[in-house]
Amino acid sequence: MQNGDIIKFVVFRFDPKSDEMPKYKTYDVPYREGMTVLDGLNYIIENIDPSLSIRFSCRQGICGSCGMLINGKYELACKTQVKEIIKNGTVKVEPLPHFPIIKDLVVDYSQLFEKLKRAKAYFISLDEDLEREFLQTPKQRTKIDKYLDCVLCGACMSACPVDETDWEFLGPAPLMRAYKFIGDNRDKGAIIRLKAITGIDGIWRCHLAYSCVEACPRELAPAIAIRNLQKIAFKWSLTGKISK
């Protein structure tokens, strides 16, 4: 592709305040070397149609604002190069499926954030002594290495077949983030947390379809974390640490 080539951006448009049905609008965007999908969307807003709503911020794939479906693939728009994803001269951009739509590509994330709370996806410890640090060897740290940099973009929740039919299911990101703490030798909340995530909306609802692993734009593996949680919960229920 060369600078100035025209790319067709096919963009999902829907304003629940005024539209009965969603529609797709096509915009011609001139290509330039290094252009990301977010650059393309911003070009549309600044030069063609300022009424298009998108959510974005850091533009380096770490804030998680711009999770979208781009040519059918879950991606962060800011780190997706147009040249890598373009198909037949077209880039099709849609909001994350199964999330309520606020406007166009902007979805309502409140369910996801609420589920973090329900999954007790936060560190629990009663140690208040700030004169010393907790110890953790590099080897102990490797247990949680792979689960650290979730950006809460929502792709895994959107891709999850269980979440699709059961909105109460805690879902991949909250459960993976709960696992991060259970795998951390410094945390003291494993039992409280396991109780919170082994109910009817918890880990046993996961089919291990691995859609979340495929969807994650940061290449994390929530399903593996959930499988590990299932193993721990099974073992602990046998030893009576948590009820069956």
């Binding site: 009424s51 998680g64 590099p138 102990q140 650290l148």
Partner: protein, 562 residues
């Protein structure tokens, strides 16, 4: 109208830290944020957070490094306070589960960073900010602190000479919303979006500073803006100083490690102002790399694949995505990029402003601990130390000074903001908001960058004032209110223009070179005339400039050599 004892505007590192502290001290707290807190730009900090944690390091040396790094513009009592508090706030993060990288003895590993005499930067690979922000966010949800997200605060309401509330636009509903509080904390972040090439997120417009400025709170040291030496060419996305901390080299077009000429002792780990000027000098004098000699190279290859993957995975990802090079095999093309505003809302080391009941912390402020040039690893530290202090101060203030009868003033302000938005939506004109914003970014890039002269700055200021006139003639095409980026930009641009004006006025008046403010026409530091903070007060005719002394406790200014 919502009421909380303490309202915190901004949910980044400083805001969330303040929220936790105020909550834990018994205050009823609400967080109002332009974005959902986990999107705040603290998330993009890469390199680490400084603290003298090891027994052979001391906070005094950390304070000295900070003050020398600041080119002696930091208030020394504030720098002492921050560095003394540093180990406790860093251990606090660790006690909340932040997954720091570890040394073999199980303690936090610390790497060397620019301008420091000891390896004291604790980190989580090269996404320290992400780990820090998410750790705080998790503690906020654990405490059930209410979050009002995607609300852009546009005004501080005053009643009987104190702050009693804030009013802003809810982006999701298009409604104007208001909050009353006994105490208000601003932690609204920096202003990198003023520049064409920046590491900062789209949300970092400096609008919060403008809102405080309009409310009569002075801004301080606005002429000092840090250019980070290593942004990916040409987009400016950050490659952490941690890369050089781990041993990466800077190489010019002739294959030379040119830092030897500028900072023979510290080399690549000299402070950022020096390294940025060195890179720009190499490029200006024709020793850049690449077909247009427009950048220099950051070479990590000798670190080896293992170290790069373990300690710098995020920048490897960024280099592959945005520069198309894998740093394991190829050096990364880099240029200096607008990164951090040392200036901001004038606060003392207790985070107090001139306005009663109004506190501020984080990058939107100038305490000043960073003075004319901030050291890498000190900004996350700033958010934690002063976020905590703001939480303490606001909680105490809120308990002692309940507001009485502020609701009328808040309601009046809601009406005014409603009308302002209506005017923006309905007015006719000839100018496009996005075009004006891009022109502003060019003006800043061309006239108020790392090298400055009186002539160029005066021209820039003329262009800026012309832009302010043209802003009055904007017309919006979209005329929607729900999540409308044109409207959001129009609102923010008004603030950006005023913030930019203070920066020009301060830079033109400061006829010396100090830290990040380098004047080619006045290339040396002038302690006799300019060892003082600039203070900017809002007036309809532009900023009124005043000065106030720098607080010196024990370190006399000396020449800065590295």
């Amino acid at each position: 109208m919502e009421y909380h004892e303490v309202i915190i505007v901004g949910g980044g590192g400083a805001g969330l830290r303040a929220a936790i502290e105020a909550h834990d001290r018994g205050a009823d707290v609400g967080i109002v944020s332009l974005v959902y807190p986990s999107r705040s730009h603290t998330v993009a900090a890469e390199g680490g957070i400084n603290a003298a944690l090891r027994e052979d390091d001391t906070w005094e040396v950390h304070a000295w490094d900070t003050i020398k790094g600041s080119d002696f513009l930091a208030d020394q009592n504030a720098a002492e306070f921050m560095t003394r508090e540093a180990p406790r706030v860093v251990r606090q993060l660790e006690h909340w589960g932040m997954a720091f990288n570890r040394a073999d003895d199980g303690r936090m590993y610390q790497r060397p960073f620019g301008g420091q005499s000891y390896p004291r930067t604790a980190y989580v690979a090269d996404f320290t900010g992400h780990a820090l922000l998410h750790t705080l966010y998790e503690q906020v949800i654990a405490r059930n602190i209410p979050i009002y997200d995607e609300i852009m605060i546009m005004s501080i309401v005053k009643h009987e000479n104190r702050a009693v509330g804030v009013v802003g636009l809810n982006l999701k509903t298009g409604e104007v919303e208001s909050f009353m509080a006994n105490a208000i904390i601003f932690s609204t972040g920096g202003a990198g979006q003023l520049y064409q090439i920046t590491t900062n997120a789209y949300l970092n417009t400096g609008y919060g500073m403008a809102v405080a400025y309009w409310a009569g709170v002075p801004l301080k040291d606005m002429e000092f803006f840090q250019f980070h030496p290593t942004g990916i060419y040409p987009v400016g996305i950050l490659i952490t100083e941690g890369a050089r901390g781990e041993g990466a080299y800077l190489i010019n077009g002739e294959g030379e490690r040119f830092m030897a000429k500028y900072a023979p002792e510290k080399m690549e780990l000299a402070p950022r102002d020096l390294v940025s000027r060195a890179i720009l000098t190499e490029i200006r004098e024709g020793r850049g790399a690449g077909p247009e000699k427009a950048y220099v190279l950051l070479d990590l290859r000798h670190l080896g694949a293992d170290k790069i993957k373990k300690r710098l995975p995020q920048i490897r990802f960024l280099a592959i995505k945005f520069a198309g090079v894998d740093p394991i095999d190829e050096p990364i093309p880099v240029i200096p990029t607008a990164h951090y505003h040392m200036g901001g809302i004038d606060v003392d080391r207790f985070t107090r402003t001139e306005l009663l009941g109004f506190f501020a912390a984080g990058e939107c402020t100038s305490v000043s601990v960073h003075g004319a040039n901030r050291l890498g690893g000190n900004s996350l530290l700033d958010t934690q130390v002063f976020g905590r202090v703001a939480g303490i101060m606001a909680a105490e203030f809120a308990k002692k000074h309940r507001i009485v009868d502020g609701s009328k003033a808040v309601e009046e302000e809601v009406k005014r903001i409603d009308k302002k938005i209506e005017n923006l939506l309905n007015k006719e004109g000839h100018e496009n908001v996005f075009k004006l914003k891009n022109e502003l970014k060019q003006i800043m890039h061309n006239h108020l960058h790392a090298f400055r002269t009186e002539e160029s700055m005066l021209e820039g200021l003329r262009k800026l004032r012309d832009l302010k006139e043209r802003y009055k003639d904007i017309e919006l095409a979209s005329k929607k209110v729900t999540y409308d980026l044109e409207l959001i930009n129009a609102i923010q641009l008004e603030g950006m223009l005023d913030v930019a004006e203070t920066m020009f006025v301060g830079a033109i008046a400061r006829k010396e070179s100090r830290g990040a403010h380098y004047r080619e026409d006045y290339p040396t530091r002038d302690d006799k005339n300019f060892l003082k903070h600039s203070l900017f007060r809002y007036s309809r005719d532009g900023p009124k400039l005043e000065y106030k002394p720098v607080i010196i406790t024990r370190w006399k200014p000396i020449e800065r050599k590295y």
